[in-house]
Each structure stands twice: as structure tokens, then as C-alpha cells.
Symmetry: C2
Subunit: 162 residues, 2 copies
């Protein structure tokens, strides 16, 4: 295997570890349980679920792989804090979105070659990219992986909450 | 730049983003503030500081770059939960350890070539590594980066706590 191919594999493995962890977590939480706050006065689980769907989904357009499927979630789950009063889908429909987002991204990622991962994302100009070639699609994936880990660290706090 | 070099640069950038974020966070917290819990009944900030020092430090031996400097923190901060009753260094000395760990790792990482990052870590046998070449030093760095993000997500919850 080529070095670049091995690095891509390592990055995708790291992404998949976090994705499975979030997945397994949401599976253990009931729809009512999603209304729990991660800590007093902080975000509810349902907000973080919508937040992760929308933020992860942004990789579709950033990678030039088509239109986003969940841009309509940005208002309630990204651009505004929890309890903004903006309409949110119910838990069952959000779970369905989570599954769809996961399968779209998995298919998208599988379609990228190491050279594609090395290429710029759509939010970078050619000029900026020439100066900083490490700001490529792979770096977006690494950031999104950290972002998911960051929120998983918060979500697990509801476990064993008295 | 070679593809492998660009990938290493992206992974190190991702690590440095999280490291700076933890750094900036600890700088805003007083020694007394480190006694705060991230959420009621959960880990204290001082525990997470020691935990991150010890877990990050483990990369020194995993990468074959010498003996660990902070293995003595494992008992109180990794192998046992917070409030185990085991002796902990005071906040000032832990902050000093944090700075040292950071500078040791930064120097260690700078000494690794892309080929080094591709090579196996010391907890892998040659046989296992032949089967899974993506379980290399870079994959350890990615996991440690996610681990740090996970705990940063928890630490920031003390901000604006009523």
C-alpha cells in the first residue's frame, strides 16, 4: 500500500471509531432521554444530535460531492443555541436523519482517492491552498472527527446521572 | 511536498489545535478553580489535567522515543478514577508537568519523518503490523488528538457555570 493510502485509512478509521461511538450512545438513549441536558443548564442531547448531523453533513458540499441533505437543520442546531424556540424535528425523524447522514458520508468518503483527500475543499481558494496544502479535505475530516469526539465527551456525562 | 508529508502536517496541525485549546483553557483557570467538577459528581478539572499529561506522555514510549517522564501520574490519573485517595501533585507542580510534557512531545514529534509516522508503535508486533499497516504511529496521534478533544468538550462545561 502507498504511504498516502495508509494515512487516509488511518484517518478514516479514526473517524469511524468516533462515529460508531456516537451511534452506540444514541442507541442506548430513549426518545424521552434525548431531552436530557449534558449538565445543568447546558445543551440537551437532542440538540447535539441535530448539531452533529448538520456539521458532519457540511462535508458533502465542502468536498464538492453534491448538495447538502440537512442544511435545513443549521438554523436550529448550528447557527443558534439550544432552546432558541426554532422548530426542531422530533426525535424519531432526527434519528432517521442521523442514519441517512451516516450512510451518505460513508458512501462519499469511499469514493475519494488519496489524491482527492489531498485536494482543496470548496471553502479554500486555489491561492490560499497553494500556500497551505495541508488545509485539504483530509484536514477537514480530522477536524470533524475531533468535533465529534468533543461532543461525545459531553454526551456521556448523562450516563449514571443521579 | 510529498503526499505523505502533507498528511503528517495535517495530523500535526490537528493535534496542535487541540493542544493549544487545552492550554488556553488551563491558563484561564485558577489553581482553586481546578478543583471544580465538570458536572455534578463527575471528574474535577485537576484530574483531567493529570489524565491528559499522563495519556499524552505515553506516546513517548509508544513511539520508542525514550522513557516516559510522567508514568508516576498513571496511578492517580489514569488507572484510577478521580477522588481515589491516591496522592496527587498540587496544581502548581501539575501545571509545570503540563508544560514539560508539551515541550517533550513537540520536540519528539518534530524528530519524526513521514516514514517514521508510518512505522509501527511499540505496542504492536511486527506480525500484527503487517496485517494492519494503518495502525502506525500516526494513528496513535490521531487517537490521542480525539482523546484530548473529548475531554476539552467536558472541561469547557465549567465556563459560565452558575
Amino acid at each position: 500500500m502507498e504511504p498516502a493510502e495508509i494515512f487516509v485509512q488511518a484517518a478514516l478509521k479514526s473517524w469511524n471509531i468516533q462515529l460508531k461511538r456516537a451511534d452506540a450512545f444514541f442507541d442506548t438513549i430513549s426518545d424521552e432521554g434525548l431531552q436530557q441536558e449534558i449538565a445543568p443548564g447546558k445543551n440537551r442531547l437532542i440538540y447535539l444530535m441535530g448539531h452533529l448531523i448538520a456539521v458532519n453533513d457540511s462535508m458533502t458540499s465542502l468536498f464538492g460531492q453534491g448538495e447538502r441533505s440537512f442544511e435545513h437543520l443549521d438554523d436550529a442546531f448550528v447557527k443558534n443555541p439550544d432552546r432558541s424556540g426554532l422548530p426542531m424535528p422530533d426525535a424519531a425523524s432526527l434519528r432517521e436523519d442521523w442514519r441517512k447522514a451516516k450512510s451518505i458520508l460513508t458512501a462519499n468518503f469511499a469514493a475519494l482517492s488519496p489524491a482527492d483527500w489531498m485536494s482543496r475543499h470548496t471553502a479554500m481558494t486555489d491561492e490560499d491552498f497553494a500556500k497551505e496544502p495541508s488545509r485539504n479535505k483530509l484536514s477537514v475530516l480530522l477536524n470533524r472527527t475531533n468535533h465529534m469526539a468533543y461532543h461525545i465527551g459531553q454526551m456521556v456525562l448523562v450516563k449514571g446521572k443521579s
